[in-house]
Amino acid sequence: MLRVDVEKKLGEFSLQANFTSEGRVIGLFGASGAGKSSLVNMIAGLLRPDRGTIVIDGETVDDTAAGIHVPTYRRRIGYVFQDARLFPHLSVAQNLDYGRRMNGLAPDPAQHKRIIDLLDIGALQDRRPGKLSGGERQRVALGRALLSKPRLLLLDEPLGALDEERKLEILPYLVRLRDEANVPMVYVSHDVAELRQLATQIVMLKQGRVTSFGGVKVLT
């Protein structure tokens, strides 16, 4: 479960969002500049709200009135960025293992194998991120985030940097993740078709305000 009730001023732009979601995939929809990324960064703890609360899975991670701000690294979230952000000095295998090491989790070969098979990245393990295609990079980034065992997965336009063909290559993996990985997701996109395929709930943002909230129907 995710509960968000925040306000934030960023220069001239002001963001105000209030929604509660139990959905498996919350689609954050809006044009660029609507405040989607700022909202996701607040959920991740990378940006601090001026006022409000954020509750992830029953834990209050932000509460400005009570002075609570759990730092990003203790939120147990996964974050897939538009630009993958794989560590260039580590191999694919080391990138995938990074979250487990940082969180001090015991190796979980069963989960490891399941996610690697799900994303078809077994053959890439020894490569360096610089030698991967855009689509491969994004699949590794997905695997890296999932293997840190997050309780919420944030995806900020994960297909945004890919061309149409690559998007169609990755989408089925995302559908599989939704149905099999058992991690709730927040999926940011300005693409209606993408969200129709993936989201179970939609939060529509326009100029920093939530204009509609509900099932995928609100996209029409």
Partner: protein, 231 residues
């Protein structure tokens, strides 16, 4: 002709020891300072930056004299260290290492700072979302990506330290076997009537060491670029 005498060897080995110690001790401070200057804005930052660069523009004899006033036996810091920790800098090789460390510090810090500034901070954010506390982010992402720059800074600092003359001779004098480095040995030799050949040999040694260090620094800088591109 190229027959290096024991006395010359002493000077060469002493120079190497002084420069190695100066570089190794200065490196952690250099990394910390480079990180501070690259990543933080604080009151007095430009002042700190200027102080670090001061040895580069001050006459070396002034730096040496200031070191003598501070770290000499009667100096505030020097007296304390000698009385309480038994560490003496004045007229010892350790003093030469201190002088070389201070003089080479600006050159050591600069490549480190540049390489930290060149790191994509979004990678550090990604590390944080994967559960890495700030100090872990530093050791697993920032430092490894900055490593070629760190090594380049060490090489440059080493090259500068091995050739340092003015501050060293002012602070710890020119005692054979204790504080006489290659530079001060050359200085002594060109003032003695038959010293030309010996001075020439030490000059060649200096040039070889300096060029070697510059080539090594260049190589590390190229490695840095490759590393940041993940190849």
């Amino acid at each position: 002709m190229f027959d290096i005498s024991p006395a010359e060897w002493t000077a060469i080995l002493l120079s190497l020891r002084v420069a190695v110690i100066a570089t190794l001790v200065a490196t952690p401070f250099g990394i910390a300072l480079a990180w501070l200057l690259a990543r933080h804005d604080f009151w007095g930052k430009s002042f700190l930056d200027a102080v670090v660069h001061l040895p580069l523009v001050l006459p070396p004899v002034v730096t040496g004299y200031l070191l003598l006033l501070t770290f000499g036996r009667r100096g505030v810091v020097g007296g304390f260290l000698a009385d309480h920790l038994g560490i003496v800098f004045a007229f010892r090789w350790t003093g030469a290492a201190l002088a070389c460390g201070v003089m080479s510090f600006p050159l050591l810090v600069r490549p480190m700072r540049l390489s930290i500034e060149a790191i994509d901070r979004r990678l550090e954010q990604a590390a944080e979302t994967l559960g890495a506390a700030p100090w872990k982010v530093f050791f697993t992402v920032t430092l490894p990506l900055a490593l070629p720059g760190v090594l380049a800074g060490m090489v440059l600092g080493f090259a500068k330290a091995i050739g340092e003359f003015g501050a060293t001779i002012t602070f710890v004098s020119n005692i054979p076997g204790e504080t006489q480095t290659i530079s001060s040995a050359i200085y002594s030799l060109i003032q003695t009537p038959d010293g030309d050949a010996a001075a020439g040999r030490l000059v060649i040694v200096s040039i070889v060491l300096a060029i070697g260090a510059l080539i090594a620094a260049e190589w590390f800088a190229r490695r840095a670029t490759q590393r940041l591109h993940g190849n």
